[in-house]
Symmetry: C2
Subunit: 372 residues, 2 copies
């Protein structure tokens, strides 16, 4: 998934994402609740229509964000009271309020409100967060059922404006109910992960599973170990979503361990910082060596940046602080990940994934990664 | 012309400009000489290929820029010695060095190096600048002939990289020699403008004429008066280019007075500041009233921003400081001006320009312009 936290994938246009072949966009309940407000988004007909994206969307619940507000939040069994990182205003997130927010936003997949803790937490704290997340999952289910029983969301108040001819407005409303994904917690402790996976899979017919609490400070081998454990416990015919991951090598390692869905700010954030993913590792376009380089970012890439622009030109854009540089690298990096996943799917279908992933990782790691 | 000072139209992609129907891009010799260097651009095959634009291009000579470096420059009959606004490095612009730079850049139209002074200068200073500009024009012609006699520009050193299949590289090299446009100076003094126009039109078979030294601080009525005077003196079958102008109303007023070509940073700069041109004047998208507004920026506009996004969404992008907002308003504003000029041409052909321009200006000025 391309990350569009605030209902926009930074520096890209929804049209770019269609061209790239991106399949899904992630937005964030915490951020959209604060700006522009989930009720406003609802009144615009939901987040798809608001941002002009007619493909699948997922909203994260904001659990990760509110628990990151160290010093600005109070946690209880009921939920989290916190102050906005923007203006200090007071808000309360509970499973119930978050379901209301995500329903207002109207994404196709909505994540439960969960308790997120640092990756290296010891077993006591991890157990507490995991068990609380499971209790909160039950409250999310109840809250969502209550909201659905209340009928469709309140009438959109500001969408009586007639669509312009030839426009994509109005987007069709999603015809399916929103799918709620549970989130597995349990830190880096195998027993907790097994327990969480078994408890959750047995209490509902989930359309998919979120794997949370990884890529939050723990070592990579710990993440891989936990993914192996979780892989063995979850049904194989439902997508697993590894939250907040990741870099190209993480995607390959994740797919190897049964993960289907990822999200990460890396392609656009690194793109804005001048780093491009290539088959041979990362490339920092600001380096002087690229000044006279007529080659595209990645000679094997067919994205619209690589088909048109040289490294020398893109370096010039970065050195001159020109926005087009951010856009071109973001476009290239998102394209790179979309294509990587397409190649992984093809290798799985062809029964050659093991060899493919081994070769891919070997080549990617061959070149020492220049810091971006 | 869309303004692409540093070989990029800020926040837009050359592809956007093609879609909009923009006919020409302006780049700047001063800025490209400093960053990334005109010799580097030459080695990339010229500015068209460097930035991936296969339509017409014009480079301004940098006269306006170096004369703006108050305190950092010394002017003599030979030229201008100045320090870079970026790193303080020393440079000398003369008619000869500027012709070399513009030849390296390789635009289709190149502007002479001229002496630019403030718009309200009295007649003595204006005469001096105008007469010097005419002497410098003669030196530009001689320098350009000498460069042409020396054959094509030195071999491109870094373009032996083979084009990727399906790419726009290599762009065809322009098959025509670059057209040198003289620049008329003379400030707001009619006698000087008449003298400059007559002298210049009689000494060469120019493919077009630049009208400089306007929109540099003088009052609008002064600009219109000078345009009327110049209009009467220049051949009607050659394009007149009013440099650095302007806003939508200036374009209509200019066309009324025989101007064919304009450039201005306004559409992209104002776009980045949140101001959109509409048929009813300017609109500041950041205003609270647009928070819930489902309408496009301009209900009569068919640009790709207006076909897809609401004022409410674009306001959200600006309030959240999201780059896509800059891009959408820049796109809309450039489209607005391109369409305005298309409408003006249609009205001229239909013989209805007077009525069309009167109605257009009346409607545009009806609404008080909110400050952007």
């Amino acid at each position: 998934m391309a990350v569009g936290t605030l209902a926009t994938v930074k520096s890209l246009d929804p049209e770019d994402l269609r061209t790239i072949g991106a399949q899904m966009i992630l937005a964030n309940a915490y951020h959209l609740h604060l700006r522009p407000g989930d009720e406003l988004v609802r009144d615009f007909g939901g987040v798809h229509r608001f941002m002009g994206w007619d493909g699948p969307m997922l909203t994260d619940s904001g659990g990760f964000q509110v628990f990151s507000l160290e010093g600005l939040r109070t946690v209880s069994e009921d939920g989290v009271e916190f102050r906005s990182h923007i203006d200090g205003s007071k808000h309360v997130f509970t499973p119930e309020t978050v379901m209301q927010i995500e329903r207002n936003l109207g994404a196709d997949v909505i994540m439960q409100f969960d308790h997120v803790i640092p990756g290296q937490s010891e077993i006591g704290a991890s157990r507490e967060a995991s068990e609380r997340s499971i209790r909160w999952l039950a409250r999310c289910v109840t809250a969502l059922e209550k909201l659905r029983a209340g009928g469709p969301p309140p009438k959109n108040t500001i969408l009586d404006f007639p669509p312009l001819p030839g426009t994509i407005f109005p987007l069709p409303a999603p015809s399916h109910p929103q799918a709620l994904f549970p989130i597995l917690q349990g830190g880096i402790h195998e027993s907790l992960r097994v327990e969480a996976a078994r408890t959750i899979r047995d209490v509902g017919d989930w359309r998919g599973f979120g794997i949370g609490g990884l890529s939050v400070g723990e070592a990579k081998p710990d993440m891989y170990r936990i993914l192996d454990v979780v892989d063995a416990e979850l049904p194989r015919d439902r997508p697993r979503y590894l939250m907040g991951v990741g870099f190209p090598e993480d995607l390959v390692e994740g797919v190897k361990r049964g993960v289907d869905l990822f999200d990460c700010v890396a392609p656009t954030r690194m793109g804005r910082n001048g780093a491009a993913f290539t088959r041979d590792g990362r490339l920092n376009i600001k380096r002087a060596e690229f000044r006279t380089d007529p080659r595209p970012l990645d000679e094997a890439c067919d994205c619209s940046a690589c088909r048109r622009f040289s490294r020398g030109y893109i370096r010039h854009l970065f050195v001159s602080d020109e926005i087009l540089g951010h856009r071109l690298l973001s476009l290239h990096n998102v394209h790179f990940l979309v294509r990587l996943m397409r190649d992984a799917r093809a290798a799985i279908r062809a029964g050659t994934f093991d060899a493919w992933s081994r070769d891919w990782l070997a080549r990617y790691h061959t070149r020492p990664v220049p810091s971006a």
